[in-house]
């Protein structure tokens, strides 16, 4: 009898553990991003005083999706933009790649888009001779579509570490 009770207790404990574990499955995921930062995973911009440096940020658009380039052909369309907050000591300027033109099955209008992987170059210049590190919040704003649907504008947020050396 004590053995039976012990076994029942063990069974009850296992059942509780399993039900708790399964409860984690019920949570809803976040709404999807259509673009991801692929390289570097933790961006670092190294800046030397009075000398401009270039850092490449590589992004990837999900398969079967496209996003408007930085200069779409229509002003109704929402351009891709890398937003870098102004810094007192460092000037940061993104340089965008040219989009490529596509036409969709249902429409003859050309769209200037990014698909697959694309790179944005960030030019950095320390305004004065200072050293140190700072982390700035960057934001890639974009609007994505596939062949027959478009999705609301989104924002991919990530941090960039800026290291200023002499």
């Amino acid at each position: 009898m004590p053995m039976l009770i012990a076994k029942l207790r063990l069974l009850a404990f296992l059942a509780l553990a399993v039900s708790t574990a399964m409860a984690q499955d019920w949570s809803q995921g976040e709404k999807p991003q259509w673009v991801e930062l692929v390289f570097p995973s933790t961006p670092v911009i190294k800046v030397a005083a009075h000398r401009e440096t270039k850092t490449i940020l590589q992004f990837r658009v999900k398969p079967e999706m496209h996003i408007n380039s930085h200069q779409p052909h229509s002003d109704l369309l929402i351009p891709t933009e890398l937003v870098l907050p102004a810094q007192k000591q460092i000037a940061l300027k993104p340089q965008y790649p040219a989009g490529h033109d596509i036409t969709l099955p249902f429409d003859s209008e050309k769209l200037s888009v990014y698909t697959g992987e694309f790179a944005i170059e960030v030019n950095a210049l320390a305004k004065r001779a200072v050293t140190g590190r700072t982390t700035i919040p960057a934001e890639l704003k974009y609007q994505a579509c596939n062949d027959n649907s478009c999705f609301p504008p989104k924002s991919l947020k990530f941090d960039i570490e800026v290291q200023v050396a002499q």
Binding site: L8, M22, G29
Partner: protein
């Protein structure tokens, strides 16, 4: 001793019940997530055969418009935005279908999900020659319709106010027309 055994058995049965109903809930959540899939949208399938959620939105000339004002008509409720290319393709079809079927009781309503205010929408609507009602949408209305994410998303509503079908993404003009005919063939709900 007996009481301990009974307590343990009851506890095990209770937890087994939690697991059973929990797996059903998790399966349902996964099915919903699967519906979202690559497009990131819930298609609004959950509203089929149910009363279309009522709402009140402002038209471009500032009037308050309720969906329930159109009870007795076949309604095409189309969520769109000025930045949506596929939406722009189907708009001339809606214009033509509105002209063709208005006398039979068709009402097309475009709900703009633009964030930038009505001036840009007004200009766009004029340029496109839109001849049907356009309303300025709100997130709460989108949420009521399954969380409209992909545009265009269109709901076909019968004369009785029930959703017949919902479509996310661009479809052909003939498919749109077929859905309109189904909506026109419905009867208004009998007054109780």
């Amino acid at each position: 001793m007996k009481r301990n055994i009974v307590t343990l058995i009851v506890a095990i049965l209770f937890i087994a019940g939690v697991i059973f109903y929990g797996t059903r809930g998790a399966r349902s959540a996964k099915q919903t997530a699967a519906k979202i899939g690559a497009t990131g949208t819930v298609s609004g399938d959950d509203l089929t055969n149910k009363m279309a959620p009522d709402f009140e939105l402002a038209s471009l000339d500032g009037k308050k418009v309720k969906l329930s004002d159109y009870r007795g008509k076949a309604v095409v409720l189309n969520f769109w935005a000025t930045w949506c290319g596929p939406c722009k393709v189907e708009m001339p079809w809606f214009v033509a279908l509105e002209n063709q079927y208005r006398a039979q009781g068709l009402e097309i309503i475009g709900v703009s999900m633009d964030d930038g205010g009505k001036d840009g929408v007004q200009k766009f609507v004029q340029q496109m020659g839109i001849n049907y009602t356009v309303l300025m949408g709100k997130d709460s209305v989108g949420e009521a319709y399954g969380g409209v994410q992909g545009l265009p998303t269109t709901f076909y509503i019968g004369r009785d106010g029930k959703v017949l079908d919902s479509v996310s993404g661009l479809i052909s003009k003939s498919e749109i027309e077929d859905n309109i005919k189904k909506a026109l063939a419905t009867s208004a709900a009998a007054k109780s």
